[in-house]
Structures are given as structure tokens and as C-alpha cells.
Symmetry: C2
Subunit: 337 residues, 2 copies
DNA sequence: TTGAAAGCGCTAACAA
DNA sequence: TTGTTAGCGCTTTCAA
């Protein structure tokens, strides 16, 4: 697997190797004739430029680090799909890592990205706390936080307006006629969760409803945990007509628990999610939910990062997108008593 | 964002920069005293070794290219999750790309990986044809095909025994009492699909059943297409008691179409999938399916690749894993007529 | 135990 | 239009 280098080509062509470089990179100051000759020769010789060597002198790897907590999570894999598409269209590739929602691991990965000299990193933080853990490293590499709202932190992020999304969710249920809405699954340590729960509270106040919140005591929001939480909940009398789940994965767990207990959705209970992960659109699930515009989030994150990479001087940018509600079949009017 | 280099540290420490290199890389031939002094200094100065420069001289990037058709597909994102874990444990990172199941795109990405000098690539091929499209490039970089069975091609791959899996699936349905089993969704251009369908046919013969196959005429196997195909199918009289879907995504589409038509699964119709993607385990879905052991597949692919990278001389290896059946709620005895 | 120096493959400034 | 040459930041041989 001996690699052909620019020197080999130069020798074969009988020119200096800077001429080969010029021919390949399309720079000016070279006759069309020799360029063509050399390009052809490169193909014949199977010459492929060594991107590592180029990175060395260009001081740019054209690589973006993407740190997610768990790529097998459908929300993140969808985001990753769009990020890759957008990045590649701009000449970049993605180095992917999973932090496993572990701050130490995340920090290690971040340092790894610095040492790999990626041009920038897009981070789906493990927790809100991530910002603090990483703050000392942040000046060393352009970074954009994605998904998590950093409020007024002096660092770039793009996220959905979680407060507003939750507010809209309550409004939606209210208009359907619900007056007892339970908020389900708020997880500690996440500003996303805090904002959603704040939005829920605010909307309840505005509409004269009594807010009621069931916290997620687990460290994660998988379906499993949602299910366990919901089982506990359903063991008690149901004095609400709708559940607003903090995340779609929570909602999926609720569906499972409801199924077991013979609670029909939406006939007996309306259920509203948040995120709009693909699974919610599956047959028999049909989850109505507050959508995070994943494609847009992804492309804004890439744009913001490349902006930052381009203008070293620039500061930071906060971009907050407005969510919307996607209606499927998990919400209806409350039953007449 | 001026980067601190090894020279800066050397100057500050008053030693040559080779000494700093030795101190950092833990090589012998350096007093423990100076090593400690230098390591401390590096930390103080925020020195992080430049992996690009190191790659340059080591002729190894410690990077693995991972080319999938679509990372948002749950099967692939799960695989990617395990691949990353296994690779990182061995000191490697992943460069992720999506080929969009497009041969040209895939070829381009493969060339990109060569030029990026990744140490090897794991490829979830777009089609069986991928092997031919890429064959000229294969000698230039260690590669392992994942998921697709290349039969006796002289290239490494790891895949599940698709033939056997399908055979087992038919046996499973047969034992439940089914005698009319329809095979659904075979897609052209995929040896995986070919093998599954062969296994189905063989099992039918062995058990004295009449094989019946409904081909997928689309180029992809998304839920959408499965749904459309199933709609056409259900418009005709149902002269089978079970459907064996070529993939879980197909099965999901079938569930949707069945739902619409009021066909109950498993009461009116048993449904067996293949792959065991996470979605199949969701509440209300409960798809019984032939499982591909994703974690094992991933770690064998990484192992096979690192073997290949380690021993330049070595040839290729074919590793075929045995699938198993995971029972949930989509299959039952056929109804008594 | 440490330092000097070559070189990895490339780009770009400068010379011719 | 083309060639020469100096690096990019590191590892590693060879000498001291």
C-alpha cells in the first residue's frame, strides 16, 4: 500500500513538485497545457493528495468535531444526518463521538478534538453543566452548542425556544378543552428541561390552570425511565385529562404503561410530547408533539460554526428557533364526565 | 487562538524539543525528573500535542472512516454507536459520512477517505454493486464491509447469516402452525435481500410450503415504501396467514397499512420482521423479528479492520454471525377457519 | 540522558 | 510559466 506522493508525480512528469501542486489545486500561473498533462498523469498514477500534509501547512483540517451524548438516540442521529449533509456541502467532514452523557468523558473528547485540530466543534452537551466544565477549553477552539439553551452565556449556541414550545403546548391542550394538565418528566441539570417546565408553568398561570409537575428522578430520559415513572403515576387515581411529556421518549414510555393499564390514548387521556422524534410518527403511535426543526437546527449550527471559523475575531451568536406543533392522534377533547 | 507548540514548551523549559517529545510520549531514555518537570510545564502552558503533525510522521491518523447510507436509520445509528465505542477503546476516532445509498456518492466518499489518510474504513455498502464500484480503490486502504454479504469476494466483511436467519424465520412461523407464508419486500441489488429470500425459499421447500414473494420495486426500504407496497397487497384477498417482511422497516409499513384496513396483528395476520431495530420494541408495535446482533457485528468489524491495519500482509476475512429470533407480540397461531 | 537534524507531503513566497 | 526553498509540528535516528 505504498502511497504515491507529489514527488513521484513530479519526477514522472519531469517538472518540479510545486508545479504538480499548482496543477492539482487549480491555482493560476500555470499553462493549461501542462496542467492537463499533469492531471492526466495523476490519474494514471493513482495519485491522491495527502490531506494530512495539506492540513499541516494550511492550518485547517476541514474537519468538524461532532460530540453527541448518544448517536443511537433518534433525535441525535437525525441531527447528525443533517449536520453531515450541510458540512459536506461546505467541504467539511465530521468526526463523531459519543459522550454517553458523562461530563468527564465529554471533556476528554473535547480535548481530543483540540488535539486533532478539527476546525471547530458542534456539541450536543451532556448537561447544562457542560458549559462550565468546558469553559476553560472553549477559547481554544471555535464551538457551537446545539440543542441546549445557554441563556446569556458568552458562547454560541442554537436551540429551539423551549419555553415558548412548552407554552404553545399548554395552549394547544387548553383549546382542546383540557383544564387539568400534568407536566411529566422534568429532568434536573438540563436548562432545556427547566425552560420547558417554566413555559408550562407560565402558560398555566396565564390560563388560570393549576400547574402540576411530576419530576424525572432518573439521570436520563429513555423510554425505560418514562415507563417506570408512568407506572408509578398510573398506580394512583387519575385526576388530570392530559399529560404533557417533557420529551417524546418519555411519552413513549407513558404509552407503554398506559397500554398495560388499559388506559386508552387519546380517549381516556390526551398525551402531548416534545421533540418530534421519528418514532412518534410510527403507525399505532401517532404522537402529537411539539416539534424541534431538526434540519434547520443542524444547518444553523453548521453555519454558525463556519462563521466563527471564518472570522476569528467575531464573538458569539445565539439563535433560537420557534417550535411548532405537529398533530397526530394522541390528543383529543377530554371526555365528558 | 494561537496554538502552543512543542517548541514553545522547549524554549520555556530550556531543553531541546526532542526532549519535550520524549517526555510527552512516555518514551524511555529520559530522567524521571525532567519528564515530570516538562509534563507539568505542558499543563501550565496549555500545550496539547498536534495530532496532525504526529500523523504526518507516524503515517497513521488513528482515524477510521465510517461510511453508512443514512445515519438517521435506526439500524445504522445503533451500529455506529457501538463502532464508536469499540474504536475509541482502541484509540481510534470515527469520521462519519452518509452515502445516501448512492454509488457515485459512495465512491466519492471512499476517495475522500483515502485522501484523508484514515487508517481504514468500515463500509455499510449502498448496494451489493458497491464492491465492484470500489474494487479499484480497495487495494489502497484497509476496508471492512459491514452488513452486506459479499459471498466469496476476496475482501473482508462481517455480516449476519441472512440465509439462515430467513430459514429460521420460516421455521418459527411453521411451528406456530402457519402454512401460507408470504415473503414481503425483497429489494433488488442487495445480496442481503437475495440471501434472505433464498433462505425463505429453501425453508419453504424443506417444509413443503409454496413460496410466495412480493418484491419491493422501490430503491429503498423505508417505512413509506413498505406502507405503499402493503396497501397494494391488502387491496387483494388475503390468502396467507403470515407475512415475513424482508426488513423491520418494511414490517412497520405493513403495520400501518394493516391498521388502516382494520387487519389485526397478530389475530388476523402474523407478522415477522428482520433486523430487530429499536422501533420494533416500542409499545404498541411489539414486532417479533429475526435479530441482527448489532453490538457484536460492530465490534467484529472494528476488530477485523484493526487486524487488517496491523498486518499489512494479511488477506481478508469473512465473519458470518448467526441471527436469533426475538419474540414479541406480532406472531401467533393462525386463526382456526 | 540529552541535543541536533532529517524528514513526513504539502503549499506558497520568492526567484529565475 | 516554472523551479527553488522554507517551513507546518512532530518523531526518531544518530551523535555527543
Amino acid at each position: 500500500m505504498k502511497q504515491v506522493t507529489i514527488k513521484d508525480v513530479a519526477k514522472a512528469a519531469g517538472v518540479s513538485y510545486s508545479t504538480v501542486s499548482r496543477a492539482m489545486s487549480g491555482s493560476p500561473g500555470i499553462s493549461e497545457q501542462t496542467r492537463r498533462r499533469i492531471v492526466r498523469l495523476c490519474e494514471e498514477m493513482n495519485y491522491t493528495a495527502n490531506a494530512v500534509a495539506r492540513s499541516m501547512v494550511m492550518k485547517s483540517t476541514k474537519l468538524i468535531g461532532l460530540i453527541v451524548t448518544d448517536i443511537s438516540n433518534p433525535f441525535m442521529s437525525e441531527l447528525a444526518y443533517y449536520i453531515d449533509g450541510q458540512a459536506r456541502a461546505r467541504g467539511y467532514n465530521i468526526v463523531l463521538c459519543n459522550s454517553l452523557r458523562n461530563l468527564e468523558q465529554e471533556r476528554g473528547l473535547f480535548e481530543l478534538m483540540i488535539s486533532r485540530k478539527v476546525d471547530g466543534v458542534i456539541l450536543l452537551p451532556a448537561e447544562t453543566e457542560s458549559y462550565n466544565t468546558l469553559s476553560a477549553l472553549l477559547p481554544r477552539i471555535p464551538t457551537v452548542f446545539l440543542g441546549e439553551n445557554l441563556k446569556d452565556a458568552p458562547e454560541s449556541y442554537v436551540a429551539v425556544d423551549n419555553y415558548r414550545g412548552a407554552y404553545m403546548g399548554v395552549e394547544y391542550l387548553y383549546r382542546l378543552g383540557h383544564r387539568q394538565i400534568l407536566y411529566f418528566g422534568k429532568r434536573r441539570g438540563s436548562s432545556t428541561h427547566q425552560l420547558r417546565s417554566d413555559g408550562y408553568q407560565a402558560a398555566c398561570e396565564a390560563y388560570g390552570l393549576t400547574p402540576r409537575c411530576l419530576n424525572n428522578t432518573f439521570t436520563s430520559t429513555s423510554i425505560q425511565y418514562g415507563y417506570q415513572l408512568a407506572r408509578q403515576l398510573f398506580a394512583q387515581p387519575m385526576d388530570y385529562t392530559a399529560i404533557f411529556a417533557a420529551t417524546d421518549t418519555n411519552a413513549l414510555g407513558i404509552i407503554q404503561a398506559a397500554e398495560e393499564r388499559g388506559i386508552r390514548i387519546p380517549e381516556d387521556l390526551s398525551l402531548l410530547g416534545f421533540d418530534n422524534i421519528r418514532d412518534g410518527g410510527l403507525p399505532r403511535i401517532g404522537l402529537t408533539t411539539v416539534e424541534q426543526p431538526k434540519k434547520l437546527l443542524a444547518s444553523m449550527a453548521v453555519d454558525a460554526l463556519l462563521d466563527k471559523i471564518g472570522n476569528e475575531l467575531s464573538g458569539y451568536a445565539h439563535r433560537i428557533l420557534t417550535p411548532s406543533i405537529v398533530e397526530r392522534n394522541s390528543c383529543s377533547k377530554p371526555r365528558e364526565e
